[in-house]
């Protein structure tokens, strides 16, 4: 329990960073020590500690969930969902969002310095899993004096973490909200990630991951992002946004410039991504997602993952999301029903594909607020 007023407690607030001694035993067998975690908190922990809410971010996300990014000045990635009076109401909840293990925004990852050598881990960083990310978050909660979570909330890879929370720490969780996510990566999911990883590793600048003294494999990482970005959008969304329209020209160039608007858009997305993300982190986190199969961790039966769960669950999918389609959410719901867990599920309609969970959606707001008990 926190004993200091929050304004004086250096553990709380925006852009926090902590070095925990660990060691953290990873699924792959390695021990990680120390464990650095970058995180933010919003609101105040109630005296009885029953209002903590953990938000888990997606593949390339960060802990700046509802505050301006300190470097770019861009608003938080879920600012429309999190804040005073928002569906995830920071007047009511003590909200925590931590950068995931393996990332490059301040939490231990391949770009972090290896205490043994003083140099970046690069590919010497141990391969991690979604459950490892969750265990690292649990360490952070221990540090913050948070024994129980009123809720864990996540979209996409954040949803995988939320599910893993329910399976790994059932006694610490009261509610679990999983948006546009899945309990396992399918062959198609793995295939798209493998294209991205191969693009990075085919870039000569990658140099076996040991590029931190020179130029990073920006071209490879940009291609990886371009391929992934397609999977976040719907075909109809792309058609509506770009169609076959040409980019700042009247006719085709009969060359390989970005003739089409969609090409120009993807190139921009790829390039912009290389400014903010580490290529090795991309390898490690996509690997963790590909390894994720919650049923496999529980004897092959997904319902067994929820045997000890005491949380209420809510799953939301979007009808145009072909990355983690509704069928994946349904499979989770069926497992929850078999495990007799209280569960809600709704498929919302959106033209925007997988990305819908980050965009303006009054229906999603209503479901989130209602499930968390902040609705009308």
């Amino acid at each position: 329990m926190l004993t200091t007023p929050s304004s004086l407690d250096q553990r709380l607030g925006l852009s926090r960073h902590v070095v925990l001694p660990g060691p953290l035993r990873l699924d792959g067998g390695a021990l990680l020590a120390p464990v650095e975690i970058a995180y933010e908190t919003y609101g105040a922990l109630a005296p009885d500690g029953d209002n903590a809410l953990l938000i888990c971010h997606a593949l390339t996300g960060d802990h700046h969930v509802a505050s301006a990014h300190p470097r770019t000045g861009k608003p938080g990635w879920w600012q429309r969902m999190v804040g005073p009076g928002r569906p995830i109401d920071t007047d009511r909840f003590f909200v925590i969002c931590a950068n995931v293990l393996g990332s490059c925004m301040g939490t231990s990852g391949p770009a972090s310095a290896d205490a043994a050598t003083g140099r970046p881990y690069a590919m010497a960083f141990p391969v991690i899993t979604i459950r490892d990310m969750v265990r690292a978050q649990a360490l952070l909660l221990d540090h913050l004096g948070v024994a129980r979570l009123a809720a864990v909330v996540g979209g996409s890879m954040g949803g995988m973490q939320a599910l893993s929370w329910a399976a790994t720490f059932p006694e610490r969780l009261d509610a679990c909200l999983v948006i546009a996510s899945t309990a396992r990566h399918t062959a198609q999911n793995i295939a798209f990630h493998e294209v991205g990883r191969q693009a990075i590793m085919a870039d000569p600048n990658w140099a076996g991951g040991d590029y931190y003294d020179g130029s990073p494999p920006a071209a490879g990482l940009a291609v990886a992002r371009m391929a992934a970005h397609i999977t976040y959008l719907s075909e109809a969304g792309l058609t509506e946004k770009f169609g076959r329209r040409l980019q700042a020209r009247e006719q085709k160039s009969f060359g390989f410039d970005a003739d089409f608007q969609v090409e120009s858009y993807l190139r921009h997305q790829g390039l912009a991504f290389t400014d903010r993300f580490d290529a090795n982190s991309y390898l490690y986190i996509t690997r963790a997602m590909d390894y994720f199969d919650l049923a496999e961790e529980h004897g092959g039966l997904l319902a067994h993952a929820f045997r000890a769960a005491r949380a209420r669950f809510c799953l939301v999918s979007f009808d145009t999301d072909w990355l983690y389609p509704t069928a994946e959410s349904r499979a989770i719901v069926q497992a929850l029903v078999a495990a007799r867990a209280p569960a809600s599920f709704v498929e919302l309609s959106s033209p925007y594909g997988h990305d819908a969970f980050l965009l303006d959606s009054p229906e999603l707001d209503r479901v989130v607020a209602g499930f968390l008990g902040t609705g009308a």
Partner: protein, 199 residues
């Protein structure tokens, strides 16, 4: 807000603290009443995503799904009561839905509009047209009611399948009517059922 008459009957006969599955729960009106007034652990299944969103926003546990296809995953006898209100006649395979209901719940409430009500009979007899009434407001081509049935049809079906009737209520408007002439006088019916233990 007062409950629809058939829902009010069901609500009045679910004991406090029971575990209830409401199949075709709409926006969760009955579930909410059961939870708030009787501390019932209510879960729901509903086809229409807008209704599901409305129910979830009331803090209820409701799964978007179809009574015809999504009941199979519920464990045997995992609820004290399974409820099917005004949904039987919309199912593609109502007999199988009823079987599932009696498998999942120790008891089942089933309510449906009676197609043998005298108004319906008159409409067909004198008008020669598919009836459009208070309880059956849709026309033949846009009705969700694809398996119309009567009180006597249902009773015969229960006898055939060895299902025991623990109680039954018959309604004409908001008023109760007797069981004897129910097939003629009842606009809708509510049955409380269980599997015969001899099965």
């Amino acid at each position: 807000m007062s409950l629809r008459p058939d829902l009010a009957i069901i609500a009045a006969h679910v004991p406090p603290g029971a575990r209830v599955l409401d199949v075709g729960c709409g926006d969760g009106e009955l579930m909410k009443a059961l939870r708030d007034s009787r501390g019932v652990d209510a879960r729901g299944l509903e086809l229409d995503p807008r209704n599901v969103a409305a129910a979830v926003s009331r803090g209820l546990s409701v799964i978007q799904g179809d009574a015809d296809t999504d009941l199979a995953g519920y464990p045997d006898q995992s609820f004290d009561y399974a409820i099917l209100s005004q949904t039987l006649q919309t199912a593609r395979a109502p007999d199988r839905v009823l079987d599932e209901l009696l498998r999942i719940g120790r008891h089942a409430f089933v309510s449906f509009p009676n197609f043998a009500h005298w108004r319906v009979r008159l409409s067909l007899l004198w008008g020669g047209r598919m009836p459009v009434t208070r309880l059956l407001p849709e026309r033949w081509y846009d009705t969700p009611n694809i398996h119309h049935l009567t009180v006597d049809d249902f009773r015969a079906h229960l006898a055939e399948r060895g299902v025991a009737t623990e109680n039954a209520w018959f309604l004409s408007g908001d008023k109760r009517t007797g069981g004897g002439a129910a097939n003629f006088l009842a606009e809708h019916a509510v049955f409380l059922l269980r599997r015969n233990s001899a099965d």
